[in-house]
Amino acid sequence: MTRTIAVANQKGGVAKTTTVASLGAALASSGQRVLLVDLDPQACLTFSLGLDPDGLELSVHDVLMDRVGASMAIVSTPDGPDLMPATIDLAGSEVALLTRTGREFVLKQALDDVRRRYDWILLDCSPSLGVLTLNALTAADEVLIPLQCETLSHRGVGQLLDTVRDVQRLTNKRLRVMGVLPTLFDARTNHAQAVLADVSSRYDLRVIEPPIAKSIRFAEAPAAGRSVLVTAGTSKGAQAYREVARRMVAGEVGA
């Protein structure tokens, strides 16, 4: 059965896109069928996986505007996962959807056409709590929260959980919080440890291990248009994402 996971945190720069690209590549390399959906108008996931967002004819924007079916906009990537890419036009989708009744369900209904082809669908949310993020939370079975272990990110988790509860009540009662994934983690600082401990206990959230250590390798990978699993496959970060993917496939986290 397909598991659809929204990777969300309205705080920017917490490694949502890196998590989607890396987990997607790790899952695909273990033989899973994976679709990644770029829901950020900045199209960072699309760029990170080797596509030029400015040169795309079809994107998730066209799907959300009901111009084409989801399968028409999906492309394959060299790292293994399929990708529904984004362009800057996605910013217009947000505006266009805002006045439409049933706007929260547009992505869910679009994905219904392709869901059965995949074992995993990972949704890369934009760093905001707008209509696109609501669409992701409505289409998802679970939400994975990348958490940069510092105070402002901690605060963002509380806001996101408020939104998750609204979504559970209004548009997707099946939605579950998979857990928080510590990213950009620096185990040497007391602050990172304290944030992680407080988030976990305050919200009763599962901390998904291993934490993803801060590394320059993640910043270098998008330049090559490949995930860190290819550009620095033996790095600690790549190994950590492989381990998280392995635990997801084994059913040790989520579901």
Binding site: T101, D112, L170, D204
Partner: protein, 113 residues
């Protein structure tokens, strides 16, 4: 001399948001700002269901409780194979794959007119 705030590791300034915090009801008449965060939602009740367009097929799953609005073509894909026992079962007399949870189970099928 102003006292410099201590850079500590407690998080007292963060608003308490526990999982037990009751969700403010949207249609309770209490002041939820309809032009605030609520404006993002078009759904206004507790139904958690997508609006079904005229002519769409609505599948209500007995297992997951989800209602899925499908086009006739989508419904046909999920309904192969299926079993329909309207005279033997009172509720959910169609057996097919639920579009929401993916299980083959007993469902209600209605056509939105």
């Amino acid at each position: 001399m102003t006292k410099r705030p201590r850079a500590g590791t407690d998080f007292d300034r963060l608003r308490p948001r526990t999982p037990q915090t009751p969700v403010e009801p949207i249609s309770s008449g209490t002041p939820a700002d309809q032009q605030g965060k609520r404006a993002l939602f078009s759904a206004t009740g507790d139904e958690a269901t997508p609006p079904a367009a005229t002519g769409s097929v609505v599948v209500s799953c007995g297992d997951c409780g989800e209602r899925s609005a499908l086009t006739p073509a989508q419904a046909l894909r999920y309904a192969v194979p299926s079993l329909h026992l309207p005279f033997l079962k009172r509720d959910r007399w169609s057996w097919m794959q639920c579009p929401a949870c993916g299980r083959r189970t007993w469902v209600d099928i209605t056509i939105q007119l």
